[in-house]
Symmetry: C2
Subunit: 324 residues, 2 copies
């Protein structure tokens, strides 16, 4: 049982990261209006959020700029159009995906960019490339985190090797990414224990990015807070791929640090998020995501099921079990 003080007090090291544009962009191809992005930026400042992730730094040779909104590419000038010089306490982040980012060319030195933090996303089998990206970003003057995706499909021994390699890198934070929404809080406590061994050894922080396939994104995030995880990803109204993420409105309600304020989040959701849904953008918990989460599968089949407007859940269950 956790200490009562961990519920009543708070750790000053906790950082809340708003991933709405980045993970949410996966369900609307990053076509957010400028008004949406500006209001989100303002809401994050008022809410006391620590970092706002604007999107991906995707390689324009791989992805057609005409097929996606600008937040898939996060040009520095597009960010500046929203934030100006960003003379606020809110730091700005972008995500750089291994194999999908021409980081050497596309990421400018920090002193030319409004961005503070580069979040390097990798699978367990591409850690050397991730480390090259981390070193590139740190050499350019950025803070960096390393987000290890699909951790529920990784072997404990591989995770240990990865964390030992990353420990020697200049990444500041190791992120646990439950891409499949497959992890139960009891299991997460074990994964955190594994991460903590290397975080202590190499003086790193730990982060959590949860998915809501089994309605556990918030529960896993607060489990993580109680276990000493400092960096917490959340999105407004859970907007994100598939079943979505930990809801910002739940997380800020839970955290006891008086710097956080849930009211601007509620106001933003009222103004913008229900409208997105009415416009046909779809995300959030549904049976198909429960099934892939339960079976520890990538959500791609569930996303296809959703896109096709299918409602034959029982048939889909048989399909995913057959693919297990």
């Amino acid at each position: 049982m956790k200490e009562l003080s961990s519920l009543m007090e708070y750790r000053k090291g906790v950082k809340v990261v708003d991933a709405t544009l980045r993970d949410g962009g996966l369900v609307n191809d990053f076509f957010f209006t400028d008004e949406f992005v500006k209001d989100l930026y303002k809401a994050n400042i008022k809410a006391g959020v620590d970092y706002m992730e604007f999107g991906y730094k995707a390689d324009k040779e791989m992805f057609d700029v005409n097929k996606f909104g600008k937040w898939k590419f996060c040009n520095d000038e597009d960010i500046r159009d929203i934030v100006g010089d960003n003379n606020t306490d809110l730091k700005l982040a972008i995500m750089a995906d291994v194999g999908r980012c021409n980081y050497k060319n596309d990421i400018a030195p920090k002193n030319e960019s409004p961005v503070d933090l580069i979040r390097v996303a990798t699978y367990l089998n591409t850690i050397p490339s991730a480390i090259d990206m981390i070193e590139d970003a740190v050499n350019k003057g950025y803070e960096t985190t390393c987000n290890i995706m699909a951790i529920s499909a990784g072997q404990e021994s591989d995770i240990k090797v990865a964390l030992d390699m990353l420990g020697k890198s200049p990444a500041k934070v190791f992120y646990i990414v439950d891409s499949y929404g497959a992890i139960y809080p009891e299991e997460l406590a074990r994964v955190i224990d594994l991460y903590a061994e290397f975080a202590v050894k190499y003086d790193k922080k730990i982060g959590i990015h949860a998915h809501n396939n089994q309605q556990l994104a918030f529960a896993n995030t607060i489990e993580a807070v109680g276990d000493g995880v400092d960096w917490l990803d959340a999105t407004y109204a859970s907007m994100g791929r598939g079943a979505g993420n930990c809801a910002m409105e739940l997380l800020l309600g839970f955290l006891c640090n008086p710097k956080y304020n849930v009211y601007p989040v509620i106001s933003f959701i009222e103004k913008h998020m229900n409208k997105l849904r009415e416009d046909g953008v779809v995300w959030g918990y549904d049976l198909q995501y429960l099934m892939t989460g339960l079976l520890n599968q990538h959500p791609r089949t569930a996303i296809a099921f959703t896109k096709e407007g299918r409602k034959d859940y029982a048939e889909f269950y048989k399909e995913v079990v057959a693919q297990d």
Copy 2:
């Protein structure tokens, strides 16, 4: 951290209680079709559910039988129309609410009824009446549980006195009922610890009935499983008052006892639950329920907000904070 074996193995004492008709009936005034109820009964049998709660035994002098469906009253003959002699492993339950049930007259002896279990629901300040109802039910030949509602609003010292009184009663199970959806898993572990002290002393089992105001109904239920709680309430598609309950489809997916099977639940939801929503029955997580849960308030204001079709979440937040 919990033992790994508690995740991989299972406790044989676990009982799953389907509360769909009873808690779900609160959002459609118990107007379920006979086809719905018969299919639910069959699905529960196939899914390995242990108990099916049919509804309330409400006092017909207090509640107009023309204004509610029959499952608010649970006449034995109405249950028999669904289950016949119920020659199955599924046991049948009804709920008797303190102050809203003419139990001495309306509950027949067990040998005349298809019902197996009387669930007595009480607040902390009506425990003596609950004990009278428990004794009446046990004397008539039923199993009984005592469901203590709104536990998050109770003082630790009062809960101890209540559990000591109930310990001496013939109730078989003490239920933790998080009526407000206000409890976090870390807090729940503490409440369970308190219950366990008296459960051990008096040889009782512990149960959990969770609400989903903060998307924690499932998370709290599996926290409880890991802490030794045996009786677990769930409803199909989370159907229940306000933000609803722990979803049966999540719970059966989690439990490792091979007697449980999630597929019949998925089939039932596909056939019936989405149709209910299309017909205008409303339940489930939404911001207004998050707010009352966060502030540990009764959900009545959030339910009114929902019924009025309001979407001004920010205004509602100010109202509930003002009432705090």
